[in-house]
């Protein structure tokens, strides 16, 4: 009797076959649409022009084939199941689900290809060209190409579904290994440069063919090697962190200090190892990092969503330009950078107060839009004819001199790197110092519950203004450095996209987490600079990334140190504490 009930229940909760199918179909259709979208938008074609691995498949093909695989993974992902109520879906079902999704992706792509072949839509969809068609049909005739695509997509879908069968233990190293291999292929220029700089030219030859693509055997070897490494190392990082966490004060300080010294040493020689082009990339990322650290305080700590942050960036850049360049018209004191800097700070403070005061009583989303308005006002003003005498209008201001300390001029990317590094370290220190302080706590309290914070004595007016002022200051440093680096300022550089980029760095990197922001700046700013093919789709991907992030994990990719602390250290400390309690308890017990 009971068994019959149990089976009925199982069927009710998991009407197995139908649910899986419907979901797989939906996932597959979505995959197909995604593939069509990235084709129509031009990504497939652009990527095709870059090589990845020596072989019959171009990067464009690989991108296209990645879609059914990814959606196969999604389809094969077992739906959440109540333990004890129903059995988790069996392995075969996962694989089939993936295959179904792959099939549908292929079908949609096939339909798309057929349509494109029949109708000429180039007037409307500018990127759908014969070249694209060629890629989509793998260089074959229409029918053959569609068929190949279908088969390939099904296989990849099955593979994707199958990957769900591997435990987490296997999937993670596999994912990372694949990612590293792809990165090695994509970042060939960077890796070659580093290898040459480190006198490892032989390695470079082993890895890459003269065309710049990865040699297939090397790719496979590295992939497998990393996979194996990943398997072996899987728990090591955690264990290491636990050991560090359990270390007592003095030893831990030594370890941290040692790590910092090593880091500084690496940073010190980095520009010379990387060469001018790559250092330049780091410089750009560094300026964004500087701004991200500033916005981190405004948004991450104080909870004020400032969408017009570029205004402060512009203020810093233009103030520097006006004060230091001989080409600035209305008045050109031609001060040196260091003399001008305090004045830049002053201008930033004024700007911070100007923006902060009107928004003091505004609610989060209104505050965001008003600050966005301020950002636009700043841009238009800097562009306007009305202020042309001072700011140069559309022509901007040119001939901004380099930074100099005494006779040493910081000209050239390598030397400039140190200037940016210095400011970035300063900004990083400030964020760190402020986080762990009375004002930091006041900001966080204000962010969480403004009226209760007020009730506790937090002067929210002062706190908000301080946040804006410090944020403005750090952004203005970024602006000043930017102005000097480029040697000129044009209003077109100071648009909402900059604000958006900085915002997405801190959201992806995790708000109030310094390492996270650094990683964010590297991925979102440095990486696109290295991947020309990626450049034009940057903001498209950022937008999609932002949406996905908010849907899955509103806190950011890298949890801030405090949360990581809570998650990991807690267990270590908790064990220690419990042991101490137990010892105490037994001591008192035996004492009685």
């Amino acid at each position: 009797m009971a068994e019959a009930v149990q089976t009925d229940l199982r069927e009710e909760l998991l009407p197995a076959r139908e649910v899986d199918l419907r979901r797989s179909v939906r996932v597959g259709l979505l995959g197909g649409l995604t593939a069509v979208f990235i084709s129509a938008v031009g990504m497939v074609q652009s990527f095709d022009e870059a090589g990845l691995v020596v072989g019959p498949l171009s990067f464009g093909d690989l991108l296209l084939l990645a879609v059914p695989f990814v959606f196969g993974v999604l389809a094969g992902h077992p739906p959440p199941v109540l333990k004890g109520f129903a059995e988790p879906t069996s392995g075969a079902r996962n694989v089939i689900a993936g295959g179904v999704a792959g099939l549908l992706t292929g079908v949609v792509i096939g339909v798309f290809v057929a349509l494109v072949d029949t109708f000429d839509v180039r007037d409307i969809f500018t990127r759908i060209s014969p070249e694209l068609l060629d890629i989509l049909t793998y260089g074959q005739t229409l029918a053959v190409g569609i068929l190949i695509g279908l088969v390939a997509d099904v296989i990849l879908g099955l593979a994707g579904g199958a990957s769900q069968l591997l435990g987490e233990r296997w999937r993670r190293p596999l994912f990372w290994a694949l990612l590293v291999v792809v990165m090695l292929g994509v970042l060939e220029a960077l890796v070659s440069q580093i290898l040459r700089g480190a006198r490892l030219g032989r390695v470079q030859d082993a890895l890459y063919a003269p065309t710049g693509e990865l040699r297939l055997p090397s790719a496979i070897a590295i992939g497998l090697g990393l996979f194996g490494l990943g398997l072996w190392l899987r728990d090591q990082p955690r264990a290491v962190r636990q050991r560090i966490g359990a270390m007592e004060g003095e030893r831990r300080r030594l370890v941290t200090a040692g790590a910092l010294v090593a880091l500084v040493a690496v940073l010190g020689i980095l520009p010379w190892v990387l060469g001018p082009f790559l250092t330049e990339v780091l410089n750009i990322a560094g300026i964004f990092l500087l701004m991200a650290l500033g916005l981190n305080i405004v948004v991450g700590l104080a909870g004020l969503l400032d969408l017009g942050y570029v205004a402060f960036f512009a203020v810093g850049a233009y103030t520097t330009a006006v004060l230091t360049s001989p080409a600035s018209q209305a008045f050109s004191p031609e001060l040196s950078f260091w003399v001008a800097l305090p004045l830049v700070i002053l201008a930033a403070v004024a700007a911070g107060l100007l923006v902060g005061t009107p928004v003091l009583r505004m609610r989060g989303d209104y505050l965001a839009i008003v600050t966005l308005g301020f950002g636009e006002i700043a841009r238009i003003l800097f562009l306007s004819d009305a202020l042309k005498p001072t700011f140069g209008g559309a022509q901007g201001i040119l001939k901004i001199p380099d930074i100099a300390i005494g006779p040493i001029e910081f000209r050239g990317p390598e030397l400039f790197f140190y200037a940016i590094l210095a400011f970035a370290l300063l900004a990083g220190y400030m964020v760190y110092a402020l986080q762990d302080s009375r004002i930091g706590r006041a900001w966080m309290a204000m962010r969480e519950d403004e009226s209760v914070a007020e009730a506790m004595g937090v002067n929210t007016v002062a706190a908000k203004l301080w946040a804006f002022v410090i944020g403005a200051m750090l952004a203005s440093f970024g602006g000043a450095l930017f102005a000097v680096k480029v040697g000129s300022v044009f209003p077109s550089s100071f648009n909402v996209i900059v604000s958006f980029t900085v915002l997405i760095i801190i959201i992806i990197g995790g708000m109030a987490s310094i390492p996270g922001v650094i990683v964010g700046a590297l991925i979102l700013v440095a990486l696109p600079e290295l991947l020309r093919e990626f450049q034009e789709f940057r903001f498209l991907l950022y937008g999609a990334l932002l949406i996905v992030m908010m849907l899955r994990r509103p806190e950011g990719l890298i949890p801030s140190r405090r949360r990581a602390r809570e998650l990991h250290e807690e267990e270590v400390v908790q064990d220690a504490w419990l042991r101490a309690q137990a010892a105490e308890a037994s001591a008192t017990a035996s004492g009685e």
């Binding site: 302080s437 009730a455 004595g457 809570e566």
Partner: protein, 261 residues
């Protein structure tokens, strides 16, 4: 004894509704006074008026002989009146320790520049704030100490969150603590523990305490005096036994039950 908290003729209307009407209340130093009454009687409004969260229409509120009406909530906290909230309002993404450290904001003064430059004065103050927070949390036995210091407030159990609320109120070195339904949602064991804790707050820390409560066991176990409100007016005052047997009080509760039923 000089009345610590002296409320006379307090009145407040919300739109057409008279939330508090002609309320007189005097609390002596070291007393524990419970405020009871059916839902909507104006108890939380009373707390909100005392702590300055909402403005008063008429009446006088004197604390230690000084009129505090019109002062902002932070100033009232500074003068020594702290409170907890009926729906716990902690700072969820801050740690337990940080929640209590923030509560000392009005008693500390290190500014932004001191924080950046890490002056010795700043470091000393931080150390003080930290230690005081940990001591305050220690008041609750083992529940909020050790690894709990670094836990995020939102990770705490319900009862612990209520305790943290109280710890936060304690951290500002108040003279008076207003507890708004501190045992709501607790099981009998926790309720008993909290009842004893309230007594400890007065005995060990010397606080004068005003408690809003629905649980009569707590009221009985804790109060020197009980004040009953209904529709914003005081309808009875006295010891627990006096008030509990007062006809008007019983009718107020029953009457409300009838209206609800």
């Amino acid at each position: 004894m000089v009345a610590l908290l002296d409320i006379t003729g307090l009145g407040k209307s919300f739109g057409g509704v008279r939330a508090i009407d002609g309320l007189d209340l005097h609390v002596d130093k070291g007393e524990i006074v419970s405020v009871i009454g059916p839902n909507g009687a104006g108890k939380t409004t009373l707390f909100n008026l005392i702590t300055g969260l909402i403005p008063t229409d008429e009446g006088k509120v004197e604390f230690e002989g000084v009129d505090i009406l019109g002062l902002p909530p932070s100033a009232i906290l500074e003068r020594g009146i702290a409170r907890t909230f009926q729906n716990v309002r902690l700072f969820p993404e801050m740690t337990v320790r940080e929640n209590v450290m923030v509560a000392q904001h009005c008693r500390t003064k290190a500014g932004v520049l001191a924080a950046i430059f890490r002056t010795p004065a700043f470091r000393r103050e931080e150390e003080q704030i930290r230690r005081k927070a940990e001591d305050t949390l220690g008041f609750f036995g083992n529940r909020l100490v050790g690894y709990r210091f670094d836990q995020l407030a939102m990770a705490l159990s319900y009862a612990n969150r209520r305790r943290l609320e109280i710890a936060r109120a304690m951290a500002s070195d108040p003279k008076t603590v207003l507890l708004d339904e501190p045992t709501a949602g607790m099981n009998p064991r926790e309720t008993q523990e909290l009842t004893e804790l309230i007594g400890k707050l007065r005995d060990e820390r010397g606080y004068t305490i005003l408690v809003i409560e629905h649980d009569m066991r707590v009221v009985k176990g804790v109060s020197d005096r009980v004040v009953a409100l209904d529709y914003g007016r005081k309808i009875a005052e006295g010891t627990y036994d006096e008030v509990a047997h007062d006809e008007r009080v019983i009718e107020a509760y029953l009457g409300r039950k009838e209206a609800a039923g």
